[in-house]
């Protein structure tokens, strides 16, 4: 608890003093140090300030200041002890000994709150994972972390509570992640900030460091990817730079764990204020800017309502940079007019002198500071070697070769997904078949047997066989993400994206959509402009997520076995092209405001570790199996019920009597002709039953809408149930076809679909129908989770409903055009 929360007469033991700079120094000098007892003597009439007694001295503190001192009180001690020792007497909770309180304060003082701050793709999440043992998603492109992640780990008697903040290039107020990081640092006041710096790109990374110095946070710098700096042959005297900046710097390689122990040793030293290097410096912005800063600073100094968690110099700098958020904050102070007037006067003066806006002047001054610091400590290798990244980029981002290489990579990915996946798929299929056979042969006849065999095993088993394909696809996507090729894919798409009114950066959430649309929609948070963000979100459902893969594999395997990889590529590319087309339309009619330009970076290539790829695949396998036991199982059961009931109809009874007649006349010796008639009648009976079932009626009701696309009632029903999750399309078809097959005819689903015929003898599924169906599945109705993500991210149901509407209309039109034109040609 905070000191300000203690009531009059209560005592507490100090755990830690937060805040920074002069305030912290003054408080500590006054005797507010860890382990000391502090007593509340009285509150002033308006409850502010508060009168405390510490080390025998009476001290008065403002409530805001007291909020920055963490203490343990007797009440808190009792609460914590109660959870540990439930049987103690009530008295012992109320009156803990001083020694007990002291012990608890010391223990609490050993919890260090650490925030990881750094540029995108500098390895923060890898470091976080390595330190906390978490398995957060890591990718070699910016914007992987879209929200703060928390983890805890223990090291040398200390507990570290680490928060991995989104990557950001600066602490201005342009993008949501910049504001998020800034807010976290101001509001949460972490004990120590670890500034993760990509050592292979020092100049740009140190820009953020400069802003953190301005904020006056206690900091340790992790010089991450230090091996890359050494590989490039550069010399870097980090110890000298460390002394210059007053910030400890530790070389680390987060993917191997090198230096991480040293890093946290140093964090402890900084936290305990034992670090010999740590000191707060002011970046010198040059005479003109410094004069302006000081002038605004002096005005702010008179302001008593500024919380001590804010550095006044930082506020002055941000005001001079015309930071909108800080302006809003200043407006809440007692004398905003005077402050802003002073600021404007100084800005006008500076801009007149320097002939550029103050924000640019500050940026230039920071880069000047960095350049100066690096000139003394950093030596570039004289013979600059051509790096492997440059060699690879010569080809993969080449203006002519870039596209064919990207298409080739995608084709290879789909071909491998299909071809390699065929083997394990066959094994799982046989296993499912064996289980189904076992149940069929060992259970007595009845509805439960039908539910288990046709509903559960048929439905879930029909989808689970595609697990290997999905894992292979994920292995490729992980490789793309981790190696840095994803960022290149975005780079080569940049020009097309620009033409369509989007930035290349939007392509990353789109490619992420190949895995799952939900995190992809969230990843669009990294796009600064709201217009571009909205468009990226709205077109994301057109990116073919892995849930659609079972439908594709089933139908391409059945109808395009020789060109499966190419057909998959066509489907995915169709999704991209439609997304681009829709983006163009949305930009023109819905979001036609001009966007601010922003930068896209190309990180160096890194060979992904096998562990990281396996981890991604394992996570995906877990999710897929979880889905099997959840939505797909439930959907299969519901579909089975709807297809099983009602049990008897007049038509079925008529067929039954015909069967009985044949059996009676044969007297147990069936002729070949009678056997054929019986088989035909059995088949007819199943068809009549399914058509009369509840699901059959639903299917026939919606089928007229989908008939122009070549779909029969089973396909229509599967599309309807697939709205919950796209895999359910396959499980529905599986339940319907398994239920239709007689006990002796247990063929694979694809074979049954190929043999399915309309009453006039024409096949239900043709390659053209299959293509039309796959396109429809690709485009129509995003799953419920995706709609929910769009609603949450856009903040309005309107956009969720809009996406449902436009995707369904677009799917119908596309399939209609493909089927009708295809029918004319073939």
């Amino acid at each position: 608890m905070r000191l300000s929360e203690l009531r009059t007469g209560e005592k507490g033991i100090i755990v830690k003093v937060m805040g920074r700079g002069a305030f912290r120094k003054r408080i500590i000098e006054m005797g507010f140090i860890r382990g000391k007892e502090v007593e509340v003597i009285k509150n002033a009439p308006l409850k502010d300030p508060i009168h405390y007694r510490v080390m025998g001295y009476d001290v008065s503190l403002r409530r805001n200041d007291a909020q920055l001192i963490e203490v343990v009180s007797a009440a808190e001690f009792a609460k914590e002890e109660k959870t540990i020792l439930g049987e103690r007497s009530i008295d012992s909770y109320i009156t803990p000994s001083d020694e007990e309180l002291h012990k608890m304060a010391l223990h609490k003082g050993k919890i260090i709150n650490v925030a990881l701050v750094g540029n995108p793709n500098c390895g923060k999440t890898s470091l976080f994972n390595f330190a906390s043992g978490a398995h957060e998603h890591v990718g070699n492109y910016s914007g992987v972390t879209v929200d703060a992640k928390e983890g805890t780990f223990h090291h040398k008697d200390y507990t570290f509570k680490i928060v991995d903040l989104p990557g950001t290039y600066s602490l201005s107020a342009y993008s949501p992640e910049e504001l998020y990081v800034r807010k976290h640092l101001n509001d949460e006041q972490p004990d120590v900030v670890i500034n993760v710096v990509d050592t292979s790109n020092l100049e740009r990374n140190l820009y953020l460091t400069c802003q953190l110095i301005d904020m006056d946070v206690r900091m340790v710098i992790a010089l991450n990817m230090y091996d890359e700096l050494e590989k490039q042959g550069n010399k870097f005297d980090h110890e000298s730079l460390s002394k210059m900046l007053g910030i400890p710097m530790i070389p680390t390689i987060s993917k191997t764990g090198f230096g991480i122990e040293d890093l946290f040793d140093r964090v402890i030293k900084v936290y305990e204020e034992e670090d010999p290097i740590l000191r707060h410096i002011h970046i010198n912005y040059g005479e003109i800017l410094e004069k302006g800063i000081n002038s605004v600073y002096r005005t702010l100094k008179n302001e008593t309502n500024i919380p001590t968690s804010y550095s006044r110099r930082y506020l002055a700098i941000k005001l001079m940079e015309r930071d909108k958020e800080i302006e809003k904050f200043v407006e809440t102070l007692s004398n905003p007019k005077e402050i802003l007037l002073k600021r404007d006067k100084n800005i006008n003066h500076i801009e007149e002198l320097l002939k550029e806006d103050t924000e640019t002047s500050f940026t230039n001054a920071r880069y000047g500071f960095i350049s100066g610091a690096l000139r003394e400590t950093f030596e570039q290798a004289k013979m600059k070697e051509v790096t492997s990244t440059q060699i690879i980029d010569t080809f993969v981002t080449h203006k002519v070769l870039g596209f064919p290489i990207f298409i080739l990579f995608m084709w290879f990915m789909f071909e491998a997904t299909f071809r390699i996946g065929e083997y394990p798929m066959g094994w799982i299929e046989s296993l499912v078949g064996m289980i189904s056979e076992f149940m069929r042969n060992n259970m007595s006849e009845g509805p439960l047997k039908d539910l288990i065999v046709d509903g559960i095993i048929g439905g879930v088993g029909g989808v689970i066989v595609f697990l290997p394909n999905i894992l292979i696809l994920y292995a490729f996507i992980s490789f793309m993400e981790d190696s840095g090729y994803m960022a290149r894919a975005a780079f080569i798409m940049d020009r097309i994206m620009h033409k369509m009114g989007l930035h290349g950066k939007s392509f990353i959430p789109l490619v992420m959509g190949f895995g799952c649309n939900v995190p992809a929609i969230m990843a669009s948070r990294t796009i600064e402009s709201r217009n571009s963000r909205m468009i990226t979100m709205l077109i994301n459902p057109l990116m073919s997520c892995s849930a659609r893969l079972p439908v594709y594999i089933l139908l391409t395997g059945a109808f395009f076995p020789k060109n499966a990889g190419s057909i998959l590529l066509v489907l995915y590319v169709s999704g991209i092209l439609l997304a681009v087309l829709m983006a163009r339309l949305f930009r023109r009619y819905l979001f036609n405001e001009e966007d601010v330009p922003f930068v896209m970076e190309l990180p160096p290539y890194r060979l992904p570790t096998g562990k990281s790829i396996l981890l991604h695949m394992w996570e995906k396998a877990k999710q897929y199996l979880h889905k099997m036991g959840g939505v797909i199982l439930v959907a299969s059961i519901i579909i089975w019920f709807l297809s099983y009931f009602p049990q008897h109809s007049a038509n079925e009874a008529a067929i039954d009597s015909q069967i009985a007649q044949i059996e009676q006349t044969s007297n147990g010796n069936l002729t070949a002709e009678q056997e054929t008639s019986l088989a035909t009648l059995e088949k007819q009976k199943t068809t009549v039953h399914q058509q009369n079932s509840y699901i059959g009626r639903i299917g026939q009701a919606i089928q007229p809408v989908l008939a122009p696309l070549g779909f029969d009632w089973k396909m229509s029903v599967s599309l309807m149930t697939g709205m919950a999750a796209k895999e359910v399309v396959v499980s529905t078809l599986s339940v319907l076809y398994t239920g239709e097959a007689d006990d002796e005819n247990t063929q694979a689903l694809d074979q049954q679909m190929k043999q399915d015929k309309y009453p006039d003898g024409t096949p239900v599924f043709t390659p053209l129908v299959a293509l039309s169906f796959m396109l429809f599945v690709l485009i129509y109705f995003p799953c419920i989770a995706t709609v929910s993500a769009i609603v949450n991210e856009s903040g309005s149901w309107k956009w969720g409903l809009f996406v449902i509407g436009y995707t369904c209309v677009l799917a119908w039109i596309t399939s209609f055009v493909v089927f009708q034109i295809g029918s004319l040609i073939i």
Partner: protein
């Protein structure tokens, strides 16, 4: 007969499960952060993160 009783129980359990899931989806608190964005989905890691945070 027992098979009919079994499927009736399974049917009721399924309906209750679907009802519960729908109720959870409808009554989920509105949240603009990561925590509120993926109700009803088990499709990605963000779900785990959300559960941890809750």
């Amino acid at each position: 007969m027992w098979q009919y009783i079994a499927i009736i129980i399974i049917g009721i359990a399924t309906i209750m499960y679907v009802g519960f899931k729908l109720y959870k989806t409808i009554t989920a608190p509105k949240d603009s952060s990561l925590c509120g964005s993926c109700d009803g989905c088990s499709g990605c890691k963000i779900k785990d993160l959300k559960q941890k945070k809750q």
